[in-house]
Amino acid sequence: MNTNELIEKIEKACDIDEGTMALEDVLETSGYWDSMSYIIFLSMIQQELGLNIPASEVAKCKTVTDLVGLCKSKLDV
């Protein structure tokens, strides 16, 4: 799965329009990353990518780049 496909999935989890998320976005100040999108993201990666990433690992992500990188690192294992 490439970076753009992962971003599309994260955009869907955050309920924002396709193409509005940028890799350099800082999650905390992005305006779309709240407690609910966090949970929807965890749900999405388990159901669609088969990834069980603990919330504590996602919590360490500061930017969209970090989120994408975390997913890629788990998919590569």
Binding site: S35, Y38, I39, A55
Partner: protein, 346 residues
């Protein structure tokens, strides 16, 4: 052979005789919550949580008051003098001591030959209570066990914290567990699990002996705009979701293996009604059809250890249970603590 048959005939098997519910009279609707949280309209609260309204106790109402009301409903149909043991599951006891179950024994006028104990568990509490009741009944320590579940989380919730105020409701259930000599197993097997590393993710940090209630504690507002003090209930929703999504599928497989059953053998799944999003996630993950999956929290919310008996009662009233159905009950949450069992319905 004869001895074996005789042993089976003599053995006792526990079963759920009846369940009754009591919810407090004060209703907290999504419309009222939306006034306090304008960024969460009523429709959005319903869509995200699956809850339309929850019942809230008044400040002077305790979990034991709710439990007594639920028990009184049940005991209009059964002889209270035959109750041999009272189990009270709560995280809202009347006092640090004495044991609230002792006070309830007196209020219900149960015989003084009745054993009584409290146990402190949340969302897994009904499963653990059934396990304890089964053990008491099947080892001849009591013929009839009254299992009471009740909580008043609203007393721990800050009015400015939408993350928990939209979810939790107060309530109580009363379940009668009794024995039936010589019939096939009805309650069990059980699987349990515990991981105390999750303690900080759903917690009331003060009010116990580790840390006393802090007077004039300052309000702290988190990144999502939820306000609470150190005395209030705190929930890390993402961590709780993560724990649930990882632990529940394993728990179900363990329990099926013990029962020598498969997912296809289960006729109805009754999960802890945490919130609609978690329930739908688990349902999809486990490929459970709507016909086999109970969602019953719209008018009561997440009532902690009461959600499973409330959902079970809902299924009974809607005639979703037939004789010989296999019913899987699954509880998970605060602690972390989790447990599951399978009922052979009769």
């Amino acid at each position: 052979m004869w001895a074996c048959v005789r042993a089976n005939w003599m053995s006792k098997n526990s079963y759920i005789v009846d369940v009754d519910i009591h919810l407090p009279s004060t209703v907290l609707t999504n419309e009222e919550l939306a006034k306090d949280f304008p960024d969460w309209p009523a429709a959005k609260i319903l869509a995200k949580t699956g809850i339309k309204e929850r019942r809230i106790t008044k400040c002077y109402e305790s979990a034991s008051d709710l439990a007594v009301s639920a028990a009184e409903k049940l005991l209009t149909k059964y002889d209270r003098n035959k109750i041999g043991f009272l189990l009270f599951c709560t995280q809202s006891p009347d006092y640090p001591l004495p044991t609230t179950a002792c006070l309830i024994q007196h209020r219900l006028k149960l015989p003084t030959t009745c054993g009584a104990l409290d146990f402190n568990l949340g969302c897994s509490g009904f499963i653990y209570g059934l396990g304890l009741a089964k053990a008491l009944v099947e080892t001849d320590q009591a013929d009839n066990v009254l299992l009471l579940n009740a909580d008043t989380y609203s007393h721990y919730i800050n009015a400015k914290d939408k993350s928990v105020r939209t979810l939790f409701g107060d309530g109580a259930t009363a379940t009668l567990v009794s024995s039936t000599p010589g019939i096939a197993q009805i309650v069990g097997p059980f699987s349990y699990g515990t991981d105390g590393r999750g303690k900080d993710n759903l917690i009331v940090k003060t009010r116990g002996s580790r840390s006393e209630f802090v007077h004039n504690a300052p309000l702290e507002v988190d990144n999502n705009g939820n306000g609470r003090t150190v005395n209030d209930l705190y929930m890390n929703g993402a961590e709780i979701f993560s724990f649930t999504a990882i632990s529940v599928p394993d728990l179900i497989q363990q329990t099926l293996k013990k029962a020598n059953l498969t997912m296809g053998d289960i006729n109805l799944f009754v999960f802890h009604q945490a919130n609609l999003f978690i329930l739908k996630h688990l349902q999809k993950l486990l490929s459970i059809s709507d016909e086999k999956f109970v969602v019953a929290m719209e008018n009561s919310g997440n009532t902690v250890s009461c959600t499973i008996p409330i959902a079970l009662k809902d299924a009974m009233e809607k005639k979703r249970l037939k004789a010989d159905d296999n019913v899987m009950l699954v509880g998970f949450g605060v602690g972390y603590s989790w447990g599951a069992t399978i009922l052979k319905w009769s």
